[in-house]
């Protein structure tokens, strides 16, 4: 508990997390407002459903990737990781506390992005299809809480492995924004690989673009995909903690 508190003081005593949080929310919600003002949805369209309000959430997710990675790499950059391990020599405890203290704000950001995007879309361009009726509708919006939290865990793990801000951020962004999409373009095997990539899994949990034909016949259901996404994040985090324990601080 004391270690969690120490991490909380660390997080809240610099301003950059606040700016990151603001950006992570404002970027997707703001652009969703823009899209909402242009959107034309006909009843019965293939494109309708609550998830269309969430199409830009990946932007917020990208900012959370950066924010979470920074929370650990900046400690390496400024040497405070040494102070951290000096006061809490049990490194796994220190790093798990940091993970918790980073993942919880990420979940709050996820909630703000999910409900914010939905609400702003509704306010600007209201359709009956956008009401939160079914469990699936709720999953698309409230599910962002879990997706953002797990995203933060994944980024922390990568940050622990790479340690350098530039390296970690580059790897995370290039992977999340480019690599996952490009792998699908590989002939034949591309699709099968793509079905097991973490952010693809996150999107399937949210139900983004559920109706596209090539996204039927998937190996897992939405909750299966969530569990898979969480497992990948947990594995990366475990690797990060293991590496921090093995290597010199």
């Amino acid at each position: 508990m004391s270690v969690l508190n120490a991490e909380r003081i660390k997080l809240l005593s610099t301003r950059s997390p606040w700016w990151c949080a603001l950006l992570a929310i404002a970027l997707p919600v703001g652009l969703t407002a823009l899209i909402a003002s242009q959107a034309q949805i006909q009843p019965g369209d293939a494109g309708n459903g609550v998830y269309i309000t969430q199409m830009l959430s990946s932007l917020g997710r990208a900012v959370v990737l950066v924010m979470a990675a920074l929370s650990i790499t900046s400690e390496y950059r400024f040497g405070t990781i040494r102070s951290t391990f000096q006061v809490v020599p049990h490194r796994a405890t220190a790093l798990l506390a940091k993970t918790a203290v980073t993942a919880i704000p990420a979940m709050l950001i996820g909630a703000a992005v999910g409900f914010g995007s939905w609400a702003v879309f509704q306010a600007i361009n209201s359709f009956p299809e956008l009401a939160l009726d079914t469990a699936q509708d709720w999953r698309a919006v409230a599910g962002q809480v879990l997706v953002f939290g797990i995203t933060a865990v994944l980024a922390l793990g990568v940050g622990m492995l790479i340690r350098q801000t530039a390296g970690a951020v580059a790897v995370l962004l290039v992977y999340a924004l480019l690599v996952e999409g490009l792998i699908g373009l590989i002939p034949k095997i591309g699709d099968d690989i793509q079905h097991w990539l973490p952010f693809f899994a996150a999107d399937r949990f949210l139900g983004l673009q559920d109706d596209i034909p090539q996204l039927r016949d998937l190996p897992l259901g939405p909750w299966g995909y969530l569990a898979y996404f969480a497992a990948v994040a947990a594995a990366v985090l475990a690797a990060g903690i293991l590496s921090a324990q093995r290597r010199d601080a």
Binding site: S2, N5, I9, K10, T14, F78, P89, A249
Partner: protein, 314 residues
């Protein structure tokens, strides 16, 4: 009490610390002396469990650092004053450290007071001068009121006033019965600060002794003799068991004091122009002792140096 036993650390091919054993007694200031790159910081990082030794171990009161519960209460350390987030205030920095070890929040204000940073406690640490950063680091080390304190080159870059403050401060800590281990690459500084000395060069132990003994043993006393005709005297000195070396037109004699040399000169009927005792400087002595173990040699001989009062040792 800190104890290092066979401590070894290699980074790839670099052997930074080589089978180093020493002990740091309680109630005294122990200096940890060595030229640049000797492995002082590496040793301190290993004592704090930040770097894992390749071999051997370092124990604090018989325990490995990693096994300490709430280590700030046992060991306080300032390894690098820059290990602070530049955008965090001094107070917030101390607050999270204190909280992690369940230390009372009021302790933060106490240590700020001790090091004299109360007025700037709310300012961001990134804007601190080196002296202020150093004080903040010392405040952090004192948080848990620990019995054992480690400081890595705490006076580096400080002005004379800051140096004096730190020196007095360390003496007080030791007088309170604490173990104080402080590194430096300046013997002259350590001669004033430390009562005990652990001297290393290239990762190896050169000596562990009291500062007095080290200085006495290190600064060999010689006598400079000058005169127009020193040939006979030279022979006589050699026969009397003194060692003699040429120094310009004169002789540098070791192993015999001025009085004996003067009498010998009278007996050999030698005219003397000068007969003066020379005392080697501390830095020279230190360089002589660690001479072979300096990591980065500079070609001093090539540099145009002003004439020194004390003849160079070699």
């Amino acid at each position: 009490m800190i104890e290092a036993v066979g401590l070894t650390k290699s980074y790839g091919k670099t052997l930074a610390v080589d089978n180093l054993s020493f002990s740091v007694p309680t109630g005294r200031v122990t200096g940890f002396l060595g030229p640049n790159g000797a492995g002082k910081s590496t040793t301190m990082r290993m004592i704090l469990g930040l770097d894992t030794p390749t071999g051997g171990s370092a124990l604090i009161d018989g325990k490995r650092y990693r096994d300490l519960h709430q280590p700030l209460r046992t060991v306080g350390a300032l390894l690098d004053a820059k290990w602070v987030h530049p955008n965090r205030s001094a107070r917030a920095h101390l607050q999270w450290l204190a909280r992690s070890n369940k230390l009372p929040a009021k302790r933060v204000d106490e240590v700020l007071e001790i090091v004299g940073l109360t007025a700037v406690a709310g300012k961001r640490a990134g804007g601190f001068s080196l002296g202020m950063s150093q004080r903040l680091g010392i405040a952090a080390a004192l948080l848990g009121d620990p019995q054992v304190l480690l400081f890595d080159e705490p006076v580096n870059g400080l002005d004379p006033e800051g140096i004096l403050w730190i020196r007095k401060f360390m003496h007080r800590l030791a007088e309170e019965g604490r173990t104080v281990f402080v590194s430096s690459h300046l013997l002259s500084e350590m001669a004033l600060t430390a009562q005990e000395l652990v001297v290393i060069g290239r990762g190896k132990l050169i000596s562990q002794s009291s500062t007095e003994d080290f200085v006495a043993q290190a600064t060999e006393n010689t006598v400079l003799v000058r005169g127009p005709q020193l040939g006979h005297l030279r022979t006589a000195l050699g026969q009397a068991g003194a060692s003699v070396r040429d120094e310009g037109a004169g002789l540098v004699v070791s192993g015999m004091d001025c009085a004996d040399i003067g009498e010998l000169a009278a007996r050999t009927q030698t005219v003397l122009h000068e007969l003066s005792p020379q005392r080697g400087s501390l830095e020279e002595a230190f360089m002589q002792l660690t001479g072979d173990s300096v990591e980065y040699h500079t070609e001093i001989a090539d540099a145009p140096t002003p004439a020194t009062l004390v003849p160079a040792g070699k």
